[in-house]
């Protein structure tokens, strides 16, 4: 029987009640002291080291949550036996920067342009994550976590959900986010959202369990206590150009206003249905925004309501089976990331590349009243993309689906409209029309650029105990 208490809490739980998150990017200063630190983190009773939050916290909800991820260099620095290191997957060993071309980390997003501490990827050994209600708690836990003998702090990244009961579910481009996560077989479903997608086998997210690809198993680094119930995370610092995004919506709306077939997209008089008091141009902006994402900004899936945002629609209970282009573009961001049961080229890949996504915004919310100010502060998303195989899930999705559009011949050769490495000279996106040929939008710039990241291994509690007990 699968034991939730052996798994780090951030894998299967979103900690959605805790608005503040801080990432400590750390280097092992002394292997022996770092191993003592790891051993102490299991109980949290010694040397003040914060306790690792597990997937089973019983009835006592913790006030703060603390989790760790280790890079390949980190596992090496801790003295993990070379026979175990050799069993780790190639993508993880080479690190995120080696996969730059696959992930679209080129141009402005190239690893050579990442700021410190991500400019020295080999020095990043451990990334600790603190979730809390208040900033003061982040400070306290950081103080406790920092044992100068064991670990050197290379840098931090801090995120916070938007303040306000309604705003907390939204992210920088103005969309509702963090709507749903995969449900797993054998794991209690805390969200209880209706969902037409099948439950994912546990091996989608944890090593040592059956995967979605029949008969295929991922290699579990040995000894079993090291690999079993562990998983991999792609941690990404993703800068979002909100001003550029809004500007592009203006540009696209102006283009559409002049388009001979615009009435098919927005019948005259329908503006009010898109949003209260919207002008024709503003309504067209929202239509473009909805098509780029695959959801209206309030979260309504286009697959369920293509014409207007409808708060009565369920946010999660939908599929793309039989959903044609005119309902939801094949190139829309959420459909590219997860085509659900819809027809795709790679017939066996339906539902096999699913990821647990944990994202929290960083930087101040964009103020539309002061658009396009110079020296805009940096803002974006601190994202975690968790899955048992970096190659078969995160990289496969990024490379073939987001950056190539291989899953559907109608979008092949185009990038994801929101998160892709777009170049305005070549980018395009098709806005579907019910009558047939779509209207093609051009000139999409890069709205999201990568400002750092690392592949980490999220060890189980047994693995942390094992690493803490190493003596070499």
């Amino acid at each position: 029987m699968f034991d939730l208490a052996d798994v780090q809490g951030n894998i299967l739980r979103g900690y959605t009640g805790k608005p503040h998150v801080r990432y400590l990017i750390l280097e092992v200063a002394d292997a022996m002291a770092a191993r003592r630190w790891l051993a102490a983190s299991i109980s949290g009773r010694y040397h003040g080291v914060p306790q690792i939050t597990t997937g089973d916290w019983g009835t006592a909800k913790p006030e703060t949550c603390f989790n760790i991820g280790l890079t390949y260099e980190g596992l090496r620095a801790l003295g993990t036996p070379s026979s175990s290191l050799a069993m780790l997957p190639n993508e993880f060993i080479a690190g995120m920067t080696a996969s730059a071309a696959k992930l679209g980390d080129v141009g402005h997003s190239a690893p050579e342009k990442w700021p410190a501490p991500f400019n020295e990827p080999k020095r990043i050994h451990l990334i600790a994550t603190i979730y809390a209600d208040k900033v003061e708690q982040l400070e306290q836990i950081q103080q406790r976590a920092l044992d100068r003998n064991a670990l050197t702090l290379l840098g931090t990244r801090e995120g916070c959900t938007f303040p306000g009961e309604k705003e907390r579910d939204f992210v920088h481009f103005g969309y509702r986010d963090n709507i749903s996560q995969p449900r797993f077989e054998g794991v209690p479903d805390s969200q209880r959202h209706p969902d037409r997608q099948p439950k994912a086998p546990l091996g989608t997210v944890l090593l040592g369990h059956p995967t979605n690809l029949e008969g295929l198993t991922w290699r579990v680094p040995q000894p079993a206590e090291l690999g079993h119930n562990g998983t991999f995370n792609a941690f990404r610092v993703l800068k979002q150009d909100v001003a550029g995004f809004e500007k592009y919506l203006d540009q696209a709306a102006s283009f559409l206003l002049q388009h001979p077939r615009v009435e098919e997209l927005l019948p005259p008089g329908n503006e009010e249905k898109i949003g209260k008091g919207l002008s024709r141009c503003e309504a067209l902006r929202e239509i473009v925004a909805a098509n780029l994402c695959g959801r209206w900004r309030d979260g309504t899936p286009l697959a369920l309501s293509a014409e207007i945002p409808d708060p009565k629609m369920d946010l999660t209970d939908f599929d793309y089976v039989g959903v044609g282009d005119s309902r939801c573009p094949h190139g829309a961001h959420i459909r590219r990331c997860n085509p659900r049961g819809g027809q795709i080229v790679q017939r066996i890949a339906n539902n096999s590349r699913r990821l647990v996504r944990r994202g929290v915004p960083y930087g101040p919310p964009y103020d539309p009243a002061k658009p396009f100010e110079r020296d805009e502060p940096e803002r974006g998303l601190l994202g975690n993309f968790i899955g048992a195989s970096l190659g078969a899930q995160f990289e496969a999705m990024s490379c073939d689906w987001l950056n190539l559009g291989l899953q559907d011949p109608r979008i092949t050769g185009s990038n994801d409209p929101i998160s892709g490495a777009n170049d305005p000279r070549t980018s395009w996106f098709d806005l579907p029309l019910t009558s047939g040929d779509p209207i093609r939008l051009h000139g999409l710039p890069e709205f999201v650029s990568t400002r750092g990241g690392a592949y980490t291994f999220l060890p189980s509690i047994s693995a942390i105990r094992y690493l803490g007990s190493l003596t070499t």
């Binding site: 295929l216 198993t217 290699r219 790679q346 490379c399 011949p409």
Partner: protein, 241 residues
């Protein structure tokens, strides 16, 4: 110096055509170079491009040397039989991967080779292939050197993909600069040498790489039309995808 028009420059440039130099080079000079500057074999396969359209119709040239005991007419026949026996399953698997244009099996000098043209990322192609055909490819891999360590393929996915990658021919880029960049990147040096990048002058790095990598694929080959995906072609021909 190499471009010098002097008699000495001419002498040096024509050296590689002299029979005595070829002999001396093969038996003395190149082994000494290789000892002084060891060169790692460059990895096989195509490099992912940053232009999405370039990641279509990539080539895989998989050369799998038969085990010593299979290097005979009977061993080669066993390899031919392993393909023939599983042909329908392998072809159905390739069809279901959805991203493979062509694939064929060839026996060349005690090597069993699989040449194929595919779309997208190499690791996804191989992983999906294994996920689709399961055990059918194991019969082939078992006959090949190093194959025992990666069979059954479906239980050794990561090792199998790495193994295929290592047996896929290195693709010498079309331009000398790209070749030197590959070489220097492998050595952890991102700066490209400003000199000696003319492949017609047989730079030492190319000679040493061809010593480490006896079989290579040259350039990206001829194309009669730009890259389209399997599904784009099938859709255009109304074959369904």
């Amino acid at each position: 110096m190499a471009n010098d028009e002097s008699w000495f420059g001419k002498f040096v440039n024509e050296l590689h055509e002299k029979p005595w130099f070829k002999c001396a080079g093969a038996w003395t000079l190149v082994p000494i170079w290789a000892r002084l500057t060891p060169v790692k074999p460059l990895p096989g396969g195509v490099r992912p491009s940053i232009q999405p359209g370039d990641n279509l119709q990539s080539m895989m040239n998989l050369i799998m040397p038969l085990k010593t005991e299979n290097r005979s007419p009977i061993g080669r026949a066993a390899a031919a039989l392993a393909i023939a026996k599983n042909r329908d399953q392998i072809f159905a698997g390739l069809d279901n991967v959805g991203t493979v244009h062509f694939a064929r099996f060839v026996i060349v000098n005690d090597n069993i080779c699989m040449f194929s043209v595919y779309d997208g990322d190499f690791t996804n192609y191989i992983r999906d292939f294994i996920a689709t055909i399961g055990s059918a490819f194991n019969d082939v891999v078992k006959l090949v050197e190093g194959g025992d360590a990666v069979t059954p393929c479906e239980e050794n996915v990561e090792a199998f993909i790495q193994w295929i990658h290592e047996h896929d021919l290195y693709q010498v880029p079309d331009t000398p600069t790209d070749f030197l960049r590959d070489q220097e990147y492998l050595e952890g040096d991102k700066a490209v040498s400003p000199v000696n990048d003319d492949l017609t002058l047989l730079p030492r790095k190319l000679v040493l790489q061809l010593r480490a990598n006896k079989n290579v694929s040259l350039g990206s080959g001829y194309r009669a039309y730009p890259g389209y995906s399997v599904a784009q072609v099938r859709k255009q021909l109304q074959l369904g995808w």
